[in-house]
Amino acid sequence: MSHGTPDPNAATGSVYDGLLEHHDVVGDDSAWAFGTDFEDPLAGVDTTVPDGVDAAELAAYCLMLGDDALVMSHRLSEWASNAPDLEEDIALANTALDLLGQARLLLARAAAADPSVVPALPEGSPVPAEDALAFFREAGDFRNVRLAEVPVGDFAHTVVRLLLFSTARLAVLARLRESRDPVLAAIAAKGVKELTYHRDHAGRWFLTLAQGTDESRRRLLAALDEVWPLHAELVSAHPTETAVAAAGVGVDPSEVAAEVDVVLEQVLAVSGVDRPEKGALAGVRGRTGRHGLHTEHLSRMLAEMQVVARAHPEGLW
């Protein structure tokens, strides 16, 4: 049986009618897939930089928070169709989607604060600023912590990484709700609600794996040992973070270190797991992820993430 051209006037049309219906609106291709058209995620939002705040510093700070979310989101999304069961597959994909949404808003906020952070693209390119930042920067321009970029290990590795990541990010965003920048405050207020679910999810799995079988516990302890050296970076301040905290628009992550510790101690204690003794992964002359100093893994991840967008800088998706 062949499928003829759907007749929108027919009483019983085909499944394509819903799509064609939208094409009554000239130039509206949005119905063909989610996100095929571009729009500003901050449309109508007042992005004026607050008084006494350095726009370049605010943008750099938004890139830090945005890149953490973007890179972590990408790593989590690598679990799609690979998780231990369908429910977990969906849970990790949901978590990745929340973080991708946060990244999009934060990168758009960075671009609105200081357009000079956005890579130059060919004249007439339809790529919006947040996509240009995600897909057209080199690894050295990313400001994410290294914890977000290391490759996906086994499931225990992801549980440990997500617990450390979401605990620190939740503590930072909880304070960021009081930012003098109303855009950052709003992004944080929504992010806090999402991260509460992420952290609880990771914490429950940490406990489950620790108190599960000998094998699950062995894997959890191995993962904790491997990931722990990347934890310190999450609660250490880069000068940009110190500066935006002083200006009342950002949060100094070292100030939430004690609070993060309380939560982690709670999870470790109930799980019967000792705090690892390994020290922090060294930077290079004090430079770490926040300075653009990354592991080799980020370049490889970006190569995969960016290849299609870079091949078609004038493409419409």
Partner: protein, 177 residues
Amino acid sequence: MVTTLAPARDVAAEVTDPEMPMLTLEDLGVLRDVREHADDPRRVTVTITPTYSGCPAMATMRDDLVRRLREAGYDPTVEVSLSPAWSSDWITERGRQALRDHGLSAPGPAGPAAGGVGGVGGAGPVPLTLLPVRRAITCPHCGSAATAVTSEFGATACKALYRCTDCLEPFEHVKEI
């Protein structure tokens, strides 16, 4: 020729959510404002707010609003409002009934301050919850209170997966946030 347009608010209020089409954007609490411009009665600015940061339905909501308002004779602009952040508490009673009528469980009060779960109360650190979330919800199929959570994450960002341990049917619960 004199034409009378249906009030823009009424037109926008009828647009449904693309992922939960039993709910209008108004019932979902996503439609924040519909403003007709005094200088040009055909121009209208609609403000919507995302349920979740990464909600992939935002573009479709916007396009549906634009399409319906244009059909009604308006020249619409859709803007985004991020603050205050959307809460499941904003789903109207009519919306909750529509969810139940379609086999979905409606959210309880959000946030510990409201005696609920999932949301966040005031300022300060957010408490960790390592035990499974306890919600007093009933099966939308058989009405039994014997329900168990399968996963806090479902097919869309706003839903958790549940099952009824009496009739054994799975169902979705719109999460508190």
